[in-house]
């Protein structure tokens, strides 16, 4: 039998104030898959992530995660079902130490998802191991990005929503980030990441969904998008 997708989003709509941002987004993520949600700024990538995570009040449509309808649940309930969220603006708890940041994310292990401990995460992100007692506010942007991801992993999620992981990072840190994403995929984690950086997305994702004006315009293997210059030009203007 074919396993049902881990995440299925159908006809997702969302509003900011009176502005209608998402006009019916459909996408899915299979178990173990890395999907890149691509698109111009303002196309609705971040809004899609927030709406899936339950962080927007004004939303409609269905979100099914791991066999459950989560579209009406508050964020903390969604998170407890094993959906992790890494925001684009990092939002590290600046007053808390690295260890305490990880503690906030901690949830019980979940069958069918990789199980994380602080020690395993320090092995994955050696930078963090050297600064366990440092406060989040005293870390560089790249270190904060690593911490945010590690913090979310402490919840032992089966799927992580990774919003713009390469944004605002120096090229060297972007390479480290891509490395981390590939490692996580090898651990069996599913990832939905939003990206504008085609080379980053191309390096880590199996499949690409291109969003434009609140709707998905392209959904296919990453390879296809990379090879199809017309599609890239039409959707991403590169």
């Amino acid at each position: 039998m074919t396993a049902a997708p881990l995440l299925t989003v159908r006809n997702l709509q969302a509003w900011y104030g009176r502005a209608h941002i998402l006009m019916g987004v459909d996408l899915q993520v299979d178990r173990g898959e890395v999907v890149a949600l691509m698109g111009r700024n303002g196309a609705g990538k971040t809004t899609t992530m927030k709406a899936v995570m339950g962080l927007l009040d004004a939303r409609a449509g269905s979100v099914t995660f791991d066999g459950r309808d989560v579209s009406a649940l508050p964020p903390h309930r969604i998170a407890r079902h094993g959906l992790g969220y890494v925001p684009e603006d990092r939002r590290v708890f600046t007053d808390l130490t690295v260890e305490e940041n990880l503690e906030v994310g901690r949830q019980p292990p979940r069958p069918g998802a990789p199980a994380w401990t602080p020690e395993r995460l320090y092995a994955l992100f050696p930078n963090l191991a050297e600064m366990r007692g440092r406060r989040g506010g005293r870390m560089s942007g790249g270190e904060q990005q690593m911490l945010t991801l590690a913090r979310t992993l402490m919840g032992n999620p089966s799927l992580v929503l990774l919003d713009e992981p390469s944004e605002g990072l120096a090229p060297r840190i972007v390479q480290q980030m891509a490395e981390a994403v590939r490692t996580l995929k090898a651990e069996g984690l599913s990832i939905l990441l939003s990206e504008q950086n085609l080379s980053f997305a191309g390096a880590v994702a199996d499949r690409a969904c291109v969003i434009e004006k609140g709707r998905i315009r392209f959904d296919g293997p990453m390879r296809t998008l990379l090879d199809d210059e017309d599609a890239r030009r039409a959707y991403l203007a590169v």
């Binding site: 998170a79 708890f93 007053d95």
Partner: protein, 613 residues
């Protein structure tokens, strides 16, 4: 020498209570970002409940301390109940509405306590086993106070352990900083907040119950302590427990020794101290910039000059009001005169809050300064009414220029606390400077001359002056002055980057608002024939805030509507029932729950929705 030691120790005892109460306030604020006016009410309830339990079982040490603990627990539960029943529904409302809701709770608790325990002051039993005193260098010092002194550091230590060594504490600190992110990580914020409200309120209740052997339990405890606790929290740095501890110690000593050194200005001392601290250390002693609360007013939708009929609404309303004396009697005119005066107070406060994002807790100072400006001109200079009415906005405007210069250097809640400090300073000057102001006897005989003494004539005069100023404030909101004020509120960074001197503009707005409130004060003085220090006391400032918030801060008509509704409710309720506070409190709580954008904001939304179709 020994006398000073005892004075020092009694300062420490005061500090211990102060710390218990303000630690609860700072914790609740830190996590929920709610300025909880009801915190003082929990303190008072702790004292009342503690008094009852100690009366029943307080003959033995077990019974006494059990009673204190039980009172604290009961108050903690009430706090949790308030979170579940009220605050939980308001976390997404503007912060000011949360403040308004907690003020509604203050009013409700006032009347409930009065019904349950009566209006008489209650003297409590002293703690068994600690009734005596010990001699310290031959000076007697109460044993009970020594126990209190020890309690402060113990509570601080326990709280520190709770917040730094337990998972719950870590989650609370995380949610304090970023509620939404914490919930995206699986933390249920609602449960956390209920726990925090329980803890904070229980600390207030504990502080109250521990006061029973030391002082009489009264219905005035709530406001007195909450203002002091705010001072402690702000001086220490918002959200900092250690800061609150240090500030409690300093203020305890200030009160113990201040009375020896400056008996004339005891009332001002604490507030002067806070003003000095805030000017020197913008975020309090141990506060840090990132903990500073955001400006309370949220960025609203654009103000739109109404078109068509709506454009003429203010003028039509003025015209209609001008015709009222032709049909109404004296009582109606008196009430309407007051409504118009209060509308001007509310509108001038709205200039600061709604357009400038500057929440003033001390606007009554300028209303009162205006009233005293007029009254002093009459009393000492025998000035005729027109001259006295001119003195009102001048004195208030000058006071606002002086206070505003300091206040606009800070933002958010720190701005609010500085305005409160200056209001308290103004109040104490008026209260303690008998020779000039007559102290709490006030100034009597401030009546209008013959031509304006009829109720209708004075009503028209008020309508012309206050209504004219209201129109000016309205024009100013749509003129560059108002836009610039909003620009500074929306983004001070951008405003400075396009050549706007945000601080100076806010300063001028503060003065304009002060002068307008002053004119209202002058008109009020002549309508009542007398002035008293209570005109510039905290409750009047709170009333003005309630009016603005009831009406809604996102519209210009809001404060006018709010003033009318508030004053009519108050006068009607007061004449009908002794339980008017309870009624008003319930109305406020209901209004906040039903109309989170205020009455006028709600009406405008309805209208916009209709227009949309």
């Amino acid at each position: 020498m020994s006398f000073y030691l005892v004075q020092f120790l009694s300062g420490l005892a005061t500090a211990a209570t102060l710390f218990l109460v303000s630690s609860g306030l700072t914790i609740v604020f830190g996590v929920t970002r709610i300025v909880n006016f009801a915190h003082g009410s929990f303190y008072m309830l702790g004292a009342y409940i503690g008094w009852s339990l100690i009366e029943r079982w307080g003959t033995t040490p077990m019974g006494f301390w059990g009673g204190v603990a039980l009172a604290s627990l009961a108050v903690g539960l009430l706090g949790a109940l308030m979170e579940v029943g009220l605050l939980r529904r308001l976390y997404r409302s503007p912060e000011l509405f949360q403040l308004l809701a907690t003020f509604g709770v203050v009013l409700i608790v006032q009347d409930v306590a009065s019904a349950a325990w009566g209006a008489e002051d209650l003297l409590g039993r002293r703690a068994p086993g600690l009734k005596g005193s010990v001699d310290i260098l031959d000076q007697p010092f109460p044993l009970y106070d020594l126990v209190l002194i020890g309690l402060g550091p113990v509570v601080l230590g326990l709280l520190w352990l709770l917040f730094n060594r337990t998972r719950w504490g870590t989650l609370v600190r995380a949610a304090t900083q970023d509620r939404e992110m914490a919930s995206a990580l699986g933390v249920d914020p609602a449960r956390l907040f209920t726990g925090v409200l329980f803890l904070g309120s229980a600390l207030a209740g504990l502080g109250g119950a521990l006061q029973v052997p030391r002082e009489a339990v009264t219905l005035h405890m709530d406001m007195a302590i909450v203002v002091e606790a705010f001072v402690v929290v702000v001086v220490g740095g918002m959200g900092s427990l250690t800061g609150a501890f240090v500030a409690s110690l300093l203020i305890g000593q200030l009160q113990a020794f201040g009375i020896l050194i400056f008996p004339q200005i005891t009332l001002v001392l604490v507030f002067l101290f806070m003003a000095v601290v805030l000017v020197l250390r913008p975020y309090g002693l141990l506060g840090r910039a990132e903990d500073a609360p955001p400006t309370a007013a949220s960025t609203g939708p654009p103000l739109v000059l109404a078109s068509g009929l709506g454009r003429w609404a203010p003028a039509l309303l003025l015209a209609a009001l001008a015709l009222v004396p032709l049909v109404a009697g004296d009582y109606t005119l008196i009430v309407l005169t007051e409504v118009i005066i209060l509308a001007l107070v509310a509108a001038s406060l709205h200039l600061l809050i709604g357009l400038g994002g500057l929440v003033s807790f001390g606007h009554a100072a300028y209303f009162g300064l205006g009233a005293y400006g007029a009254a002093l001109a009459v009393k000492h200079l025998a000035a005729p009414m027109p001259l006295a009415l001119a003195a009102a906005p001048l004195l208030a405007g000058a006071g606002a220029l002086l206070a505003g210069w300091f206040c606009v250097r800070r933002s958010g809640l720190y701005f609010a606390m500085l305005t409160l400090a200056f209001a308290q300073i103004a109040w104490s000057v008026v209260f303690q400077w008998y020779g000039v102001t007559g102290g709490d006897n006030g100034i009597l005989g401030v009546w209008p001359p013959g031509w304006a003494s009829g109720k209708a004539a004075y009503y028209w005069l008020t309508l012309a002056l206050a209504g004219g100023t209201l129109l000016l404030l309205r024009r100013a909101a749509f003129a560059p002055f108002g836009y610039t004020l909003r620009a500074g509120r929306d983004s001070a960074l951008r405003a400075e980057a396009v050549g706007i001197d945000v601080r100076r503009h806010q300063w001028l707005a503060f003065a304009l608002a002060g002068a307008s409130a002053g004119l209202a004060g002058g008109l009020y003085a002549f309508s009542k024939g007398s002035v008293f220090p209570t005109l510039m006391a905290v409750p009047v400032s709170v009333d003005a805030l309630v009016m603005v918030l009831m009406g809604g801060i996102q519209t210009l008509s809001g404060p006018v509507v709010g003033a009318a509704v508030f004053h009519l409710l108050e006068t009607q309720a007061m004449s009908l029932t002794d339980w008017w506070r309870l009624g008003l409190g319930l109305v406020i709580v209901l209004l906040v729950l039903v109309f989170p954008k205020g009455i006028a904001g709600f009406a405008r939304d309805l209208w916009l929705r209709r227009v949309d179709r």
